[in-house]
Amino acid sequence: MLEIKNLQASINGTGILCGLSLQVNAGEVHAIMGPNGSGKSTLAQVIAGNDAYEVTGGSIRFNDSDLLEQAPEERARDGIFLGFQYPVEIPGVNNAYLLKAALNARRTNEDLDEVDAFEFLKLAKEKMAMLGMDPKFLNRGVNEGFSGGEKKRNEILQMAILEPRLAVLDETDSGLDIDALRSVANGINALRHPDRAIVLVTHYQRLLDYVEPDFVHVLSGGRIVRSGDKSLALQLEEKGYDWLREAANA
């Protein structure tokens, strides 16, 4: 589904990703771990198409298309979803309006009929109940005045409604209390499907107690230095990242 080869990317002339390769197949859950500054968020942003980052080499293919040739909105309509580490507050843009516009952009791309207001509301309320969100959030400005946890739940709500093919969730677990972590994990697990793939970018192992990954990769210095199964995450929790950095430099 997603094939990243030798990806190199920089921001403001500073190289962040230095030859990263990753293969994600349908049905799989991958966890990308690594210390601060290792390039995890850059990877997520580049997959989603943020042009603040310059791709200087390598390729990303998504289901037979060259992802790097596509605008962010084309990627989104094709089923790539980025859950932001810092969801943006957009006062004056109604949350429900954005959700419905996003869903219909995606449905139009899939040759499906647009949902009307009634169908949308039913769907949104159902997903909000699953995530333990108050329906009043629908009528607020996008993330406007939301707490950190509410913003993350709102990201998962968008994902649950859009049902992407590939979800890249950037530090979705950071800043969550245990109840919020559980409902966010429920939302992620509900999306697991043989036709879909999920990439979890996370600094800590704790989300992985709730969402069990098939593969764990460690990113350091802009490339993947170690891959393994879920036991790798436990090892990192125990030993920290330094032993891998040393191993990589050796």
């Binding site: 989603a48 198409g49 943020n50 042009d51 603040a52 605008a71 962010p72 909105e73 990627r75 989104a76 309509r77 979803f81 980025l82 932001f84 969801p87 943006v88 957009i90 006062p91 004056g92 843009v93 954005l98 516009a101 996003a102 952009a105 995606r106 791309n109 400005g141 968008q158 859009l162």
Partner: protein
């Protein structure tokens, strides 16, 4: 270099207006102009706005002795039917007396200015020009028992299809004690020739009166306007004002508020949407003459193309006006590199117990917000439009007459779409 007003031609035109009650006032205004001239960019208050083009239009109009091009009823109806209001109409600077005769709101007295004893007053240079050329104006008196749910519409409509035009317009509004009313002042114009509309509105709110007032300026992009509104507030009176500028080539609005009564409050907001070569200048001034009293204002601007806008918000807290609370804010969104805004908050404080604040920002669309929307499947143009409209919507939502907010919102959406479509041209 500002052009000079052709005084001989002006005198000829003014003295040619048939004698009536206003004749002495016209002649006094003429003498005032003769003595002081019109403002130039050498005046601090006019530093960024050169009215030379309006003076040229006036000279051309005086030379041509033109009477204005016809205005169809359809055009008028296309505007008035958008709002639930009873309308008074001034066409090409001439009061449509039929609209006064047909005006049917209870406890509201509408008259021609010449049929009253009202002193039209003149205290600003362009108000002098307005008065010197004024054929007639309108007075509106709101009685305490007036139906507060009805809105009084004032349509200033002009046409310069065949001939250059100048329209002086004046309205005096008195709100009695304990009365309340809503007003829409709508400016529209059409035609390819140059046009200059000069309006003066004077509002007096007696004790406990309340007025909600929205001004919508939607003139042709070739035309010019100067509009002055003066409001004087009595004890515990409230004035809310919203200003929306969509059109006009050269526009200068002056909003002058005098808080003369204790516990009076004024709240006003404005939105200017400018592209192409539009120049829109909003000068506001609040005089806190007594305290306690409050004033607050927020203006926002969206500038595209080669637009140039000015916001100057002045609050003067006079000696003894203790308990004053004055806030002002101005935020601008620049959609092109060549657009320019001159924003200037001014506070003059001569009292001790005062709370004043001001803030001004100038920026572009938030790149993070734009990217966020695009990752949700919105194309770039839609995302830009959505964010720009959201920026403007704050002012629409603050504006005083709730029942017309949706209509204004649609006008904003339409203009924003135009500004973005034309990009940085």
């Amino acid at each position: 270099m500002t052009s000079k007003l052709a005084m001989d031609a002006l005198r000829h035109t003014v003295t040619g207006i048939p004698n009536d009650r206003l004749t002495p006032a016209r002649l006094a205004a003429l003498a005032q102009i003769d003595e002081q001239g019109l403002p130039t960019t050498a005046h601090e208050d006019w530093k960024y706005t050169d009215i030379g083009k309006l003076v040229e239009t006036s000279n051309q109009w005086l030379a041509d002795d033109s009477k204005g091009s016809p205005i169809s009823d359809d055009l008028i109806e296309s505007i008035t039917t958008q709002f639930d209001a009873s309308w008074l109409v001034i066409r090409n600077g001439v009061v449509d007396t039929e609209s006064i005769d047909n005006f049917a709101l209870k406890q509201v007295d509408v008259k021609l200015l010449t049929d009253t004893e009202t002193d039209p007053g003149y205290e600003a240079p362009l108000s002098d020009l307005n008065l010197a050329l004024l054929r007639d104006g309108i007075t509106i008196q709101i009685n305490a028992s007036a139906d507060e749910n009805r809105t009084i519409g004032m349509l200033f409509i002009d046409s310069a299809i065949d001939e250059v035009g100048v329209s002086p317009m004046r309205i005096n509004i008195d709100l009695d004690e304990n009365s309340s009313a809503s007003f829409i002042e709508y400016h529209a114009s059409t035609g390819q020739r140059s046009h200059y509309a000069n309006s003066v509105v004077d509002i007096a709110l007696a004790d406990n009166a309340c007025a909600h007032y929205v001004r919508i300026q939607n003139r042709d992009l070739l035309h010019g306007q100067t509009a002055r509104l003066t409001a004087t507030l009595g004890n515990a009176s409230q004035f809310r004002h919203g200003a929306f500028d969509f059109g006009g080539r050269l526009v200068r609005n002056d909003l002058d508020i005098r808080l003369t009564g204790r516990d009076s409050s004024v709240s006003f907001c404005g939105l200017y949407l400018a592209g192409e070569q539009q120049h829109i200048d909003n000068h506001t001034r609040v005089d806190h003459l007594v305290g306690p009293a409050t004033s607050n204002q927020e203006y926002r601007g969206i500038l595209a193309g080669g637009a140039r806008c000015v916001w100057n918000g002045k609050a003067v807290v006079h000696s003894g006006a203790d308990g004053t609370d004055a806030d002002q804010a101005n935020h601008n969104l620049l959609l092109s590199d060549s657009a320019e805004i001159d924003a200037k908050p001014e506070l003059e404080i001569y009292a001790d117990d005062v709370k004043c604040s001001h803030g001004t920002t100038i920026g572009q669309l938030d790149a993070n917000a734009l990217f966020y929307l695009r990752t949700r499947g919105l194309d770039e143009a839609s995302a830009r439009q959505l964010l720009t409209r959201a920026f403007a919507q704050k002012i629409v939502a603050m504006s005083p007459i709730e029942s017309i907010q949706e209509t204004i919102s649609e006008m904003v959406a339409g203009r924003v779409e135009e500004l973005i479509a034309r990009g940085s041209k």
